[in-house]
Amino acid sequence: MIRTILEEIAAAEAALATAKEEEKEALCERLSRLYDSCREFTPEQKVLLSRLAKRPKIGQILPALFTDFFEQRGDRQCREDASILCGIAMFDGRPVTVIGHRKGSTIEENIACNFGMPGPEGYRKALRAMQQAEKFGRPIITFIDTPGAYPGMEAEERGQGEAIARNLAKMSALRVPVVAIVTGEGSSGGALAIGVADRIYMLENAYYSVVTPEGCASILWKDAKKRGEACAALKLTAQDLLKLGVIDGIIPEALGGAQRDAQALYQRLHDVIAGALSELDGLAPQELTEQRYRRYRAI
């Protein structure tokens, strides 16, 4: 549905570029109608948009916003989980710790990173990176984009629930600034486990929810096809979360989605992060953790 609209726009834009003068008016009108339909995405359309393979992911965002990236791998206990990317990088000339769910743009990439669904090792690696950031006084920037923590046997054997819970507890008390941005899918505890932050932003067409809409529909209505109803009922859009007071701001996307103008997105992401850090830089560690506690305490 989303793809169709976007494909139609692409086709109409291409046609306009080579159109004869007398065809242009009709094409412009058609484009205008198509653009309008992008201005009013339904919650379900936003969910689909948030999952587009072409949507900018951590792999593209990271080099666009940061320099000197040094990847940190492994949980120091048993394994490396590629579904979460961690490392140290420079942002505007200062070192920061970057953590994000890793999704691919192709099937091969997605298999390599388990479609952005971490196991406990991924969350423990993230916690290790966060505690190191705290030690060295680096702010932490996290990018959330996951359909959820991986529901597999090994993940359960190794304590998926414990790993998520530990991150929630420890992140709440980190003595360095934490900025979280939901760039695509923010699904369930698997998203929140790197999302306890001082400032939380969402891209305009990202979603953030207690459960995937499909999961909600199949549990409540025994029918995963009722996704549209679940998307509406869960109040999972960036606009909903801003109204509910869960997030601090919405980062606009290009008309039709972030993938249509990634450069503009990177610029906005940069400005939002820089703005948030400049607000948080002035706070003493104690104030920072107190404000973070109050933030969640009020929900």
Partner: protein, 235 residues
């Protein structure tokens, strides 16, 4: 076989010395914060069925003469799910225990975060975990008791964070539910998967305690942390 479910009220009665219990925040209930279709009716029906106002009771009282704060989730009310009211009651109980320097015991039994309160339910995981972290950093003792079933957002927040982790025998304990895992991996799970004994074998539970022994073990733990001294005693 997992033990039969037990109501939160019956659990409190089993744990506290007779006549010492005082319920806290009894009137705290959630609204319908995201106007979820059918939620208001469903919660009314749960109240009618159980006579409870929410899925969790919290109380202070005495265990073998030692003061403690105890929370109990009731799986008979909306699957023991955590929405804003449950999250708030847990957080208030943790903060109260910290203020009064009392030990904290939480019996969990829950299907997870309550979908009908959407993102606000998810955020209760962060809120309760943050409160537990503060309490523990301040030196408080938190004993988490996992009972059948403890899954989803409760298993992945405060319930996993006990200084001491206890479980009732054969309780289902895990983040993902068994059906979801079976759908994901396309095969049946082995017997005993995610049960208390499995969790203990994998390092996530200190001891499995029979229901009739629970009060005795809790009292032992309170004594081992010195709560029989220094003003920890009742009246």
């Amino acid at each position: 076989m997992a033990l039969d479910p037990i109501s939160a009220a019956a659990r409190l009665e089993m744990i506290f010395d007779a006549g010492t219990m005082r319920e806290m925040n009894a009137g705290l209930v959630a609204g319908d914060p995201i106007a979820f279709p059918g939620y208001a009716e469903k919660i009314a029906a749960q109240r009618e069925k159980t006579g409870m106002s929410e899925a969790l009771l919290s109380a202070e009282g005495c265990i073998e003469g030692m003061k403690a704060v105890v929370c109990v989730l009731d799986s008979g009310f909306f699957m023991g799910s955590m929405g804003t009211a449950v999250g708030e009651k847990v957080t208030l109980a943790v903060e109260y225990a910290q203020e009064k320097r009392l030990p904290l015991i939480i019996f969990s039994a829950s299907g997870g975060a309550r979908m009908q309160e959407g993102i606000l339910s998810l955020m209760q995981m962060a809120k309760t975990s943050a409160a537990v972290e503060r309490f523990q950093q301040a030196g408080g003792l938190f004993i988490s008791v996992l009972t059948h079933p403890t899954t989803g957002g409760v298993a992945a927040s405060f319930a996993a964070l006990g200084d001491i982790m206890l479980a009732e025998p054969d309780a289902l304990i895990g983040f993902a539910g068994p059906r979801v895992i079976e759908q994901t991996i396309g095969q049946k799970l082995p017997d005993g998967f995610q049960r208390s004994e499995f969790q203990m074998a994998h390092g996530f539970v200190d001891q499995i305690v029979a229901r009739e022994d629970m009060k005795r073990v809790l009292a032992q733990l309170l004594r081992l942390h010195g709560y029989h001294q220094n003003g920890g005693l009742c009246g």
